[in-house]
């Protein structure tokens, strides 16, 4: 059984059909990328999975559980964590606090025990800190640990956001354009970290990405969408050479050029 199955998902904003009858499956342990031109509905798919949008029709099943009935704040506890295209960090908190907020779903102490800061709360804080420190080690964020987000460089923010999502200890990680705004060197690092996250931590990764080099290097399978519709699914090379995908990106000129 697939880890995540999306079945005939549709959503319209007024007259704009953002997604129509899109279906795909993400298998446990793979890196699955979604590509497509701007406005294809990639981020819409993410917002539907994280329940920020309500689909018009269709189902999302994660680890055998129907997700389309759950409120947005219950998704993390199911084991899905996400990042945002333009970063949505807690600006006035430190990097460490951002990561500790990522641990929120694992809390087990009551309000009153927290007010009194009982030993159980102290133990829990130390356990959270350990989780956060492991992630800091993995993503090499030690230099920024106590810095407030506001004022951090964009590349660091992107990594902090991935780190925060890892602190949720998810089984599925949704990355919305992780490489946008990163320089080539940072993008290269990102490819290695994706591998680490996927192979060492065993986290299934679903990502929306424009950088085809990164997509080809990191993903096991690639889904191409355009205008909210399914175009192609396969390995990066298969999808890249698929005629529908080329038409979506380059227009019909590609066809006429090929014929001439």
């Amino acid at each position: 059984m697939s880890l995540l199955s999306v079945r005939e998902l549709s959503l319209s904003f007024g007259g704009v059909r953002a997604l129509s009858d899109l279906s795909f499956d993400v298998e446990k342990g793979e890196v699955f990328s979604i590509i497509g031109p701007n406005g294809a509905g990639k981020t819409t798919i993410f917002n539907l999975i994280s329940r920020l949008y309500e689909p018009d029709s269709g189902r999302i099943v994660f680890a055998g559980e129907e997700m389309t009935k759950l409120p947005a704040h219950r998704i993390a506890a199911q084991g899905i964590a996400r990042t945002f295209q333009n970063t949505e960090l807690f600006e006035h908190a430190s990097v460490l606090d951002n990561l500790l907020i990522g641990c929120h779903v694992h809390r087990q102490t009551s309000l009153f025990s927290q007010m009194l800061f009982l030993p159980s709360v102290r133990r829990q804080e130390l356990a959270f800190r350990k989780v956060a420190e492991d992630v800091i080690d993995l993503l090499d964020l030690a230099a920024w640990r106590h810095q407030v987000i506001e004022g951090l460089p964009y590349g660091v923010r992107k990594m902090v956001e991935i780190a925060r999502a890892l602190c949720v200890q998810p089984s599925l990680l949704l990355l919305d354009e992780p490489s946008s705004g990163l320089n080539p060197e940072e993008t290269e690092d990102l490819a290695f970290w994706l591998e680490d996250i996927n192979e060492e931590l065993g986290i299934t990764v679903l990502m929306v990405e424009h950088d085809m080099n990164l997509v080809a290097q990191a993903s096991d399978r690639v889904l191409a969408v355009a205008d909210g519709q399914f175009l192609a699914l396969g390995t990066a090379d298969e999808v890249r050479s698929h005629p529908d995908v080329q038409r979506a990106y380059l227009g019909d000129a590609a066809d006429s050029g090929a014929q001439a």
Binding site: L52, A72, I101, M115
Partner: protein, 358 residues
């Protein structure tokens, strides 16, 4: 400058980080506890008022400074606390249980106010809480059988361990003890998951949800805790003023409470106390100023609210981080002297706007 070598995670959790802090906060505590021996009764009474304001400040700072929900209606919670406490004392409930009942009732009212807060932000929330404050004030004015209406309500005497709250020294220690408890509870919350959830909601509701933080639950909780602390302050304030009338809890009071946390410095615990001292002693300052001014100026009606308003606006323009923020900058200047750069704290323009899902 002090450089700390940290070797254990506990050091980051500890409330006091190093011996320097232990020394200075210890000295401050000694001063606060020794105050009755150092100053006369009038100023001791004023200090009790500062402690009461600080308790309300803890509540308001939790809501406005840490959860990012504006409230222009906190005088209503103060009123609910004060009237409930007075009524309970009149019915023969002892001091501490009566304060607990006042806190619970106030918290319940806070939860009711939280219902619209779940759908509103910013200025709309401010207007909604303002409306709540007006409703409560009018309700108190017209529910004469319980509140005495505009005739007012005398606050009965109460005592603990045989000591009466009319005793200035005992009342001072009582207020300070409750203030310390409130502060400690707030500090503890802020270093545990619940407090971080509040901060997360303040900074980004969208990603707070993504991290598993239920907005409805935590906003309601923030309002309830905030209202409970303000209700406690209301109960103590009842003893301080001795005679309750609806106009003690009017709009000006709500604005003063908000002024307190803004002037102190939003989002900082220290700011609560700077703000409370400011609010507690500003009337004295204005009275002294009145004596010094020529009579034509000194007798202008509304001088006090006018100065309050002007200071609030001045503060927002000159130092949005509040008195505590200013102090941090001064301290940094002294630390780095003579290497301090003039533009260290120049506010940077943000060129990056995130797409918000609202």
């Amino acid at each position: 400058m002090r450089f700390l070598k940290k070797t254990r995670y506990e050091q980051d959790i500890a409330l006091l980080e190093h011996n320097g802090q232990r020394f200075w906060y210890g000295l401050l505590l000694l001063l606060v506890l020794g105050a009755p021996f150092l100053i006369d009764g009038f100023y001791l009474g004023e200090l009790s008022l500062v402690a009461i304001y600080a308790i309300a400040g803890c509540g308001l700072m939790l809501l406005v400074g840490f959860t990012g929900q504006v409230s222009l209606g906190h005088a209503a919670f103060l009123a609910i606390g004060a009237y409930c406490h007075t009524w309970c004392l009149g019915a023969g409930v002892p001091l501490l249980p009566s304060l607990l009942i006042a806190m619970s009732l106030s918290a319940a009212a806070g939860m009711i106010v939280a219902l619209p807060a779940l759908r509103m932000t910013g200025i709309y929330l401010a207007v909604a809480t303002l409306a709540f404050a007006v409703i409560v004030e009018q309700g108190i004015a017209h529910w004469e059988s319980v509140t005495g209406g505009y005739r007012g309500l005398a606050v009965p005497d109460a005592s603990l361990f045989g000591l009466s709250v009319t005793d200035t020294t005992f009342f001072y220690y009582f207020c300070v003890a409750l203030m310390l408890l409130a502060t400690l509870a707030l500090l503890n919350l802020l270093r545990s998951p619940t407090g971080r959830a509040f901060v997360a909601i303040r900074d980004s509701e969208t990603s707070a949800q993504g991290m598993g933080i239920g907005l409805a639950r935590y906003k309601t909780l923030a309002f309830a805790l905030s209202a409970a602390l303000t209700g406690l302050a209301g109960g103590l304030l009842a003893h301080k003023i001795g005679y309750l009338a609806p106009d003690a809890f009017n709009l000006i009071m709500s604005i003063q409470l908000l002024l307190m946390v803004v002037v102190g410095g939003l989002g900082s615990i220290h700011g609560i106390f700077y703000g409370a001292l400011f609010l507690g002693f500003l009337p004295q300052g204005i009275a002294l100023l009145r004596d010094a001014l020529p009579p034509a100026l000194a007798n202008i009606p509304g001088l006090e609210p006018g100065i309050f308003g002007a200071l609030l606006i001045l503060m927002l323009i000159v130092e949005p981080d509040g008195l505590y923020g200013r102090w941090l900058k001064i301290r940094q200047y002294l630390d780095e002297f003579p290497l301090y750069r003039a533009k260290t704290h120049k506010r940077q323009k943000q060129f990056l706007r995130t797409e918000r899902l609202r």
